[in-house]
């Protein structure tokens, strides 16, 4: 049974208000708090280390898997290994996400290592939200690792959001794409206080016709620091586009290092990066519509991170 803190966190990270339809696995304070499998989606616990294996049968369509994690007790530190085996031609939605409620004085940390093995022509939409709350002195730490191994024609759309309350994060995403595989990433990040966020991507396009479109939008407020690093490697005739767009505010520090690496004459790689404050004329425009300066600022940030 979930308590009210856990329920609230689940709403924040997985938009779950009641028990979800389809397969799910809830992890609360380091223990399994509920699991459901379906005829096409099986979930089993790993025997050698913490974590689960999620096996999606070939051809599974219109099904979803929810695997949210809640840390509500102060002082829990864990590394969890979750592997997803997505069968050929399957088309599923996977919702992960971790919320930390830390009212204590000890650090809480969840490091989720997610590996995705996408079969031929399979498709996934993967949604990952991170959220922290609680007024204790203990820090809320999340270090997610996402690895994507994509076979011919596989398509993955990743939506990764971290808007509030995580003190320290190191986000590592690695992807290897075979022929005609396509990876789309939409990252939204906001840091405040003295938070630190590192977001690091390495995408290797190894097959002809593979492509990646990686867009990261972030807002750095107060004394926070963001470090964005992306490396896109084109080893075949492929198309890669990465974009890093950051709004910097107050005394924040934003560091962006794009790297492109082409090993094939037909690899087309593009990187766009922009860091800047909110334009004064944007604030002025919204103020002429009746908003105060701080309301205007919030509207601009909310729109940017939507």
């Amino acid at each position: 049974m979930l308590d009210s803190v856990s329920k609230h966190i689940l709403e924040e990270v997985a938009d779950i208000h009641e028990t979800p339809i389809g397969a799910y696995n809830f992890r609360v304070d380091g223990k399994s708090a509920g699991r459901q499998t379906t005829a096409n989606i099986d979930i089993t616990s790993k025997t050698d280390k913490p974590g689960i294996d999620v096996r999606i049968k070939p051809g599974t369509k219109h099904e979803s898997v929810h695997i949210p994690v809640v840390l509500a007790e102060s002082g829990i530190r864990e590394t969890v290994y979750n592997d997803f085996y997505v069968g050929e031609d399957a088309d599923v939605v996977i919702v992960a996400g971790c919320g930390i409620h830390n009212c204590g004085n000890q650090d809480s940390e969840h490091d989720g290592v997610h590996r995705f093995f996408l079969g031929k022509n399979s498709r996934i939409k993967y949604i990952e939200k991170h959220y922290g709350e609680g007024d204790g002195n203990g820090r809320r730490i999340l270090n997610p690792v996402t690895e994507m191994y994509m076979e011919e024609g596989a398509v993955a759309e990743l939506e990764m959001v971290q808007i509030k309350g995580v003190d320290s994060t190191k986000r590592t995403t690695v992807a290897k794409l075979d022929k005609d595989a396509r990876l789309v990433v939409r990252e939204r990040l906001m840091t405040h206080g003295s938070q630190y966020a590192l977001s690091e991507y390495t995408v290797e396009m190894n097959g002809e016709g593979s492509s990646v479109d990686l867009v990261s939008r972030s807002v750095a407020r107060e004394d926070s620091t963001q470090d964005y690093r992306s490396k896109v490697v084109g080893n075949a005739a492929c198309a890669g586009h990465t974009e890093c767009d950051a709004i910097i505010m107050d005394n924040a520090h934003v560091y962006a290092t794009p790297e492109l690496d082409a090993n094939c004459i037909d690899a087309q790689l593009i990187h766009e990066a922009a860091i800047g404050k909110i334009a004064g004329e944007q604030l002025t425009k919204l103020m002429t519509l009746g908003l105060t300066e701080s309301e205007a600022e919030e509207q601009i940030i909310n729109g940017f991170l939507k």
């Binding site: 767009d245 002025t284 002429t288 009746g290 908003l291 909310n302 729109g303």
Partner: protein, 253 residues
């Protein structure tokens, strides 16, 4: 409605000195009046509009709105008292959609069909635009029309347009005139437009001619318009305006 008393605006120039952009300017805009401000480029028309909206603060004089002194009021206060401002060069926003801006402008949870009415009246096919981001993917002309739709959504006591014709194509220009004509019939408020265009001057109740930061002439359209045709103010007006009225006239014939 709006009264400017001896308004002066002095700004720093590039040589470290200062420059008077608006000089001892006095004028009034009456209730439900349609007033057009015209004059040569660089005469201080846009600055005057910005002073009224509060984007720039006057260095001398007084601005009254419905009898209330707003000389040093903020942009937000003026907006909430009932002043709207359409920018000459509309601002782009990454992430904010057309419907978001229309909702902020109208100060209510506009339904999609209400929002569409505003877009349709500026000649945009609403369903194509309502969920578009107001970003670099929109053309200058599209942005300009969305800017005007926001003013319609606000329905303010005083609506100021800074060169609404700039960046608008010929077809939209005819449409623009009808937008203003409809506006003056439907909204109970005053309209103040900065323009060089003869066809806009033609639908005014009053015309104010500005030169070097001061008012050179002001009065009813029928009195002022004949004076300024052929003058410096009109030269600019005719450079762009003649072309448009000729083609526009043919289309209407």
């Amino acid at each position: 409605m709006l009264e400017l008393k001896n308004v002066t605006f002095e700004a720093a120039d590039e040589n470290g000195g200062s420059k008077i952009i608006t000089r001892d300017l006095s004028m009034t805009v009456g209730d439900n009046k349609f007033v057009v401000i015209t004059g040569p480029n660089g005469s201080g028309k846009s600055t005057l509009a910005r002073l009224i909206m509060g984007i720039n603060q006057p260095t001398g004089g007084q601005i009254l709105f419905n009898g209330r002194d707003i000389t040093h009021a903020s942009i937000t206060e003026r907006a909430n008292l009932g002043i709207s401002f359409a920018f000459q060069q509309p601002v782009r926003f990454k992430g904010l959609k057309v419907i978001d801006l229309l909702r902020i402008a109208s100060k209510k949870e506009l339904t999609v069909s209400e929002a569409c009415t505003y877009l349709a009246s500026v000649g945009l096919c609403a369903k194509d635009y309502i969920n578009r981001e107001v970003n670099a993917s929109l053309s200058g002309g599209e942005l300009k029309r969305i800017e005007i739709a926001m003013i319609l959504a606000r329905g303010s006591l005083l609506s100021i347009f800074d060169e609404p014709e700039a960046g608008i194509d010929l077809w939209s220009f005819s449409n623009l005139i009808s937008v203003f004509e409809t506006m003056r019939e439907n909204i109970h408020g005053s309209i103040l437009i900065i323009s060089h265009q003869e066809r806009i001057l033609n639908i005014a109740d009053e015309i104010v001619v500005i030169d070097c930061g001061s008012i050179r002439e002001q009065g009813p359209k029928d009195e002022i318009l004949p004076h300024i045709l052929g003058t410096a103010a009109a030269r600019i007006m005719c450079d762009g305006g003649a072309k448009i009225s000729r083609k526009g006239g043919a289309a209407n014939a």
